[in-house]
Amino acid sequence: MTYTMTFQELDNWRRYLTEEMFAQDKERIRVCTGTACLALGARELVEDIEKEIEKNGCDLEVTKTGCQGLCQKGPLVQIDPAGYFYQRVKGSDAPELIANSASHGSPIRRLLYSDSGTGQPCERLSAIPFYQKQRRIVLRKNGRIDPTNIRHYIALGGYAAIQKALRSMTPDEVLQEVETAYLRGRGGAGFPAGTKWRHTKKAPGDVKFVIANGDEGDPGAFMDRAIMEGDPHSLIEGMLLCAYAIGASYGFIYVRHEYPRAVKNLRIAINQAQELGLLGENILGTGFSVHFDIREGAGAFICGESTALVASIEGARGFPRPRPPRLSNPGGGLWGYPSNLNNIESYACLPPIIENGGNWFSRIGVRTSPGTKVFALTGKVVNTGLVEVPMGITLREVIFDIGGGIQGGKRFKAVQTGGPSGGCIPEKYLDMPVDFDSLHKVGSMVGSGGMVVLDEDTCMVDMARYFLSFTQAESCGKCPPCRIGTYQMLQLLEKISQGRGERGDIKRLVELGRFVQEGSLCGLGQSAPNPVLSAIKYFREEYREHVYDRYCRSGVCRGTGFFVINLGECLRCGFCEDACAFDAVKATKDAYFIDQAYCTKCGACHDTCPVDAVRILKKRQFELTEEFKIPAESLEFIERRVHMKLSDVLESKPSVVYTVPQDSTIADAVKLMVDKNIGAVLVVDEDDQLVGIFTERDVVHLTAKGSPFESRPIRSAMSRNLITFKASVDVSAAMSVISDQKKRHLPVVEDDKIVGIITYRDLVSYLLPEVVYMAHEIY
């Protein structure tokens, strides 16, 4: 019973729907039923709310929307028309939700989102920092409409773009708009969509295909799922626009099997569109016909690669093949017909581009990567969820403003973008803009849009190993560089993370990685080494620690480190002895120790110790304790001292620095030294700049020569060959200079300003504890 609407009828119907369904004062409860919220109990919540409405008999509409974004705080509920935004709503809140907010307008305070920084509750979505920096173009309707109801989509201006295109634009004009917009492929590589379309359009032949790539396999990425589940019609409309522009009459949406809800909602959407004559034969009476169908994957990551995806639709093993011919070339696409393949998000960008024009889109974001990008923000960040930001926003804004910073007040370490094909970006690039070219420059990529935030507890070796084990398992096995190369790289990484790394392993890893990048056939292999190579590039120190010190600073890699018990803190509770599965914790009369011959470095004793008395040492530290019989507790003390800076010494003593102007007499300086009981004064010029130092030793020399103290200016008597230090210098460096150069006073200068003076006496008191300790040991 397909009915073909005319343009006029669609216009009228949309106006009617807009006024009726989305009237300004209509009372409505919007419950997020994205996958994350469903897992947190959104389904039961909807049932409870519906029951409550029935009981009260009030006129309230419940809309089950797609993902609203702030997945961590789910289930999310929004109340129209007041606009209240509630988080963590439970079924038991339903009566209050209906009785209080919807009809009477005062918000339920305990369900409001409160800012983690200020603790201030936010009544409306727009007040929440998580949403403030976002700009929603792709997700414009997500969270506002019921994805299984085409009327909602049309009421919010849906299918207006294809209507505009069919009514007033030629296919070439549509293509021109997309080229003007300079839309770059959202699947990760960032190839301009317009260029791709033109290739397909130019290819000879009447039969062409549009294919949407919904095989979103990256761990930690779920933006395509959100679009397919929450706003399937915008994907369909985008594909229709593409089909119209390139002259295709068939389309496939390839969805991974793990997204059953996406498949269901897409099927509903396709059927609804067909019933209204917006899809199928003779669309809107224009004679333009397109048919879409859905294909499900079956758990193969490689099928996200375009040629493998086509092979999978054709019913073959999902092997990629060499290009050219590209999909857009004759003989290259689906069954050999020219085909245009884009990511789900790319298609979802199209309706707004056609409605508002390519120029509008190209002005958003940065010139070389216009538009917005949806990211799945996950990992150790306070607010996890789906965010859409204009390109060119800095990583810092995404992670700290939108994401709310690192969980538990820990330190930021890196952010991993692009999943198993991307790389990690260290702290120093936090202020870098997020766009295709900038991320590529630092060895990562936008990729499908996963953004995993890592804190100091994450081990970069383990992280790389995780991603590589994923790509290694998902390698299709067609070409040896990828099949064997990733396997060998994984073996090396496992060796390193288990504390069995050898000299040269890191170099071998880099060499192998480059080889896999260059030799592999498809994108999977070419990008598989990225997580490893970027981790080595920015965190080589951690890799070296794993190999040479057998030590993992994050305590993640089991099998690394040397476990010892700090007897100063040990309570003798014996929990570690019980916890050890290998009887490596031995008890003596009054203490416990760990027998390294039995220890498997599993970490069980460390995890179970109530007072953290089990210490994990580096290999070098452990050798010290063995060789010199230094107990673990004093080793830590020595370690701390070794890393002491001059600033630490300065902080531990009165910080007044006495200076004299260079025009004053020697007598003035001597008087100051006597008054203040000090051994040296610093001499400064008119601008308070340090020009010299005058010490006790100078007094001795001058006295021997019989110089007149009263008349001679200090300028002529001071020593000018000064050695100054910065406050960040190690104490040990300062000590060696003092003993080599026979200096007794060291001025400490920061940015041309004198911040203090270190004397040989300070260094004696610095060394004193060791001397006392050694004396204690000897006697």
Binding site: V207, R295, A298, G299, E314, A316, R317, Y337, C476
Partner: protein, 182 residues
């Protein structure tokens, strides 16, 4: 190998003894391919139906039985070896019956230390099943996994999609109860 009665839902007309009499009309993929007939040669159309049909069969029966694959091979005129080739490429196709509940015991180091092997042997004893195997009554499939990233809750197992952590012997009993009653 155990013989089991196959309950067939949507593929009505399936006769266990004459495997080839499968009602493929019920399996016809939504109309599009027929419309695309002018675009695709017959063998390609058959090919294109292969993966959706494998999905359909597995949805109905829980796995891909040799009889079904043979029937499919005859119907689609695709050699059985090629069907196996395609099906074995994809992780989500299984060639032996799977249990209603799939239990994955984590054997990562943290879980190992905290007694994952005991959990595993308790489950093996109770259900008389090897790792990777399925009970004859298709109640459960037992697998091991190297780490599911919940080391703080060790020992951990996953029951279908749920993660159950901090398992004691009573906890294992509860899980067993849950598996039996599912």
């Amino acid at each position: 190998m155990t013989t089991t009665t196959l309950t067939v839902g949507r593929t009505s007309g399936w006769d266990e003894e004459k495997g080839e009499r499968m009602d493929f009309k019920a399996l016809t993929i939504t109309g599009m391919l027929e419309r695309a007939a002018e675009a695709t040669p017959a063998f390609a159309r058959n090919r294109a139906m292969l993966i959706p049909l494998l999905h359909r069969i597995q949805d109905d029966q829980g796995y891909l039985s040799p009889e079904m694959l043979q029937a499919l091979s005859r119907r689609l005129s695709i050699p059985l070896s090629e069907i196996y080739g395609v099906a074995s490429f994809y992780d989500q196709f299984h060639f032996s019956p799977r249990g209603r509940t799939v239990v994955r015991v984590c054997t990562g180091t943290a879980c190992h230390v905290k007694g994952a092997s005991e959990v595993l042997s308790l489950l093996q004893e109770r259900f008389q099943v090897e790792v990777g195997g399925t009970t004859p009554d298709l109640v459960m499939t037992l697998e091991t996994v190297s780490c599911i990233g919940c080391c703080g809750l060790a020992p951990v197992i996953s029951v279908n999609t749920d993660v159950v952590g901090e398992l004691s012997s009573e906890g294992v009993d509860q899980v067993i109860e849950r598996i039996i009653t599912t």
